[in-house]
Symmetry: C2
């Protein structure tokens, strides 16, 4: 893997050259990880034309620092814990006679930026913008392999839950059990707090689990994702508790299922980022849900659970091949509950079979 990281750094160097700056200072944790493999620990990366220098806190356990992770072409600068690694990297830029240093203005606070300017002697600061985030949009096959494993873990945890007795258990307990199961199956951690909503809480996007207990006749919405080697996925399913769903439940589930399928099927290289959202939204609106959903139908996913691109009705970019995204519409009827169905998929051309579904748990309306 250290070759892949070196290749990414080389691309960032080319970007810097093309932008007329000598060097980049990368502070955003997911970007540092993308360029070095270093897990989030407050590290900062200084990348000049000739050198790569990772400023790290000096109290990391050996398995998180270590040259074996970083490869031979990247130096380490150990910084006392509790001090800002970006300041150490900026000082180093001054010593290395960097003239123009691009920093991540969307990541640095105003105060931290001022401190960097204060210590980087003879250095002019420029804005790197979201250059690294842009590089991260299209994933390589190593990254997609990690996402596949993350999806398998989430699917396994969910399928085990479906085999257990749910009535009488609280949302909080079910959420904690799902988290534990994902970790048992090899996840680094849950990619985000597991959301379990039952009854009137079902169908919400990020419902915080409560002490409400699952009851006969409830809709139950589960939103979960595993994180594997830093890469996360997200999936949502809605089930019904008890023998037979009510007619309104069958109808609402079928509607959201159709909307989600329309969104998924709209994915493809060259397609406008707004198209999947509009496709899903049209299905919901035609059925009279005119003001939902408020959120974009999906977004990119990878080292961050919500990253570029955004798939909202006003997003005008074009989707690329090998971009993992979520597609997850939902309808929530206040006081009654609702349905949410979400998958993580990878954009692929039709010649390769179209969008690759990573989260494969059934989307049928199971009665549990």
């Amino acid at each position: 893997m250290s070759d892949a990281y070196a290749a990414r750094r080389e691309r960032l160097r080319e970007h810097c050259s093309a932008s007329g700056v000598d060097a980049a200072l990368v502070t955003r944790a997911s970007n540092v990880r993308y360029l070095t493999g270093c897990p989030p620990c407050g590290a900062s990366l200084l990348l000049t034309r000739e050198r790569a220098l990772l400023a790290l806190p000096d109290d990391l356990p050996p398995e998180e620092g270590g040259e074996h992770l970083l490869g031979p072409d990247i130096g380490q600068l150990l910084v006392p814990a509790d001090t800002d690694t970006a300041l150490a990297a900026a000082e180093a830029a001054g010593r290395l006679k960097v003239l123009d240093l691009a920093v991540e203005e969307h990541d640095l606070t105003v105060r931290r930026h001022r401190a960097l300017a204060g210590v980087a002697e003879g250095v002019r600061l420029a804005d790197l913008g979201t250059a690294v985030e842009g590089m991260r949009v299209v994933k390589d096959e190593h990254e997609i392999a990690d996402l596949r494993i993350a999806a398998e873990i989430a699917d396994q945890a969910l399928s085990e839950l479906l085999e257990s007795i749910l009535v009488g258990r609280t949302e909080r307990h079910l959420a904690m059990e799902l988290e534990r199961r994902m970790i048992d199956h090899g996840a680094d951690r849950a990619a985000f707090p597991v959301s379990v909503g039952t009854g009137s809480h079902s169908g919400l996007e990020a419902h915080q689990p409560t002490d409400r207990r699952v009851e006969e006749g409830d809709f139950l919405t589960v939103v979960l994702g595993a994180c594997y080697r830093g890469y996360g996925v997200s999936t949502a399913r809605t089930f019904v508790i008890g023998a037979a769903p009510a007619p309104w439940q069958v109808e609402l589930h079928r509607l959201v299922f159709r909307a989600q399928r329309a969104g998924r099927e709209a994915l493809g290289p060259g397609v406008s980022e707004s198209v999947p959202d509009l496709a899903a939204r049209e299905v919901l609106q035609a059925a009279g849900h005119t003001d939902s959903p408020a959120h974009p139908v999906g977004h990119g996913i990878g080292l961050e659970i919500r990253e570029a691109p955004r798939l909202g009705p006003a997003d005008m970019g074009k989707l690329d091949n090998r971009v993992p995204v979520t597609v997850g519409p939902g309808v929530h009827l206040p006081g009654r509950g609702g349905v949410r169905i979400e998958d993580t998929l990878v954009v692929r051309p039709l010649e390769e079979g179209g969008p690759e579904l990573l989260t494969i748990t059934t989307k049928e309306l199971l009665a549990l």
Copy 2:
């Protein structure tokens, strides 16, 4: 409680007047919560001489927004989800003819600050600095009551764990069980990821739990804290597994116990912030642990798990009455493990009995 929030806002208004600015824009989540009671949701607070306006995402569940929480003297500005509430608040400042608006430069990124400047017409931006964090250092008795409950929850979870069988269980499982128990006992959530380290992982400050299983003869270090109504505590204990600790374990535990006690006993109103650290450090250094600990012995704690003041060897401020802090030295011997003992306490004068211990689990070297 809405009176208490209003009184806090009035103090911030006085600070603004004294600093020669018309208004403040508060964006840091813990500061917004301190001034309004609003849980973290991306809200921003605009506070002018006459008005308080809370800009909130428009998709919050009713129990998290709502005027009942906010009191009558604070207006709400609902902002479409996925847009920045700070921009909406800054625009409002322009409409309200604010001339000088103090913003939190330590919270805003350079990019966001630039966007605020762009939308706040006719408004000059100034720096509010850490004025609200400064107000938060000394807690009122309502806040201390919440911290007491948070500490009780953590103590209960820990005492239940000590009654169960530990040998053969993994660090991850024990950590998840502690988290579940805290939530069962009424915590909002764990205040930070529970750390469980056994054997060579014991004694570390923020060890991420692994699949290592607890073995006979191990040191076991647990670092945990509950969050209750937004207020968190932190506590650490180290135990030994099996019938009888080895002599080196008894000796090291006794040493860290003495260092922690020295740190605790040094707390008092008017005492320099460096004194508890130096007191604990002296005990460890006299025993030959000359390079440990790298970290300050403690820090303030409340709406953030690590907030002002810092209790490090170079911190020169004076402690105040009613400041909750942690005191938690530790020694880790690479390859062998170590001991960490931490409490959350409230600084109180001797007339009131001295430091108030919130986390009361025994600090004896229990053999489990």
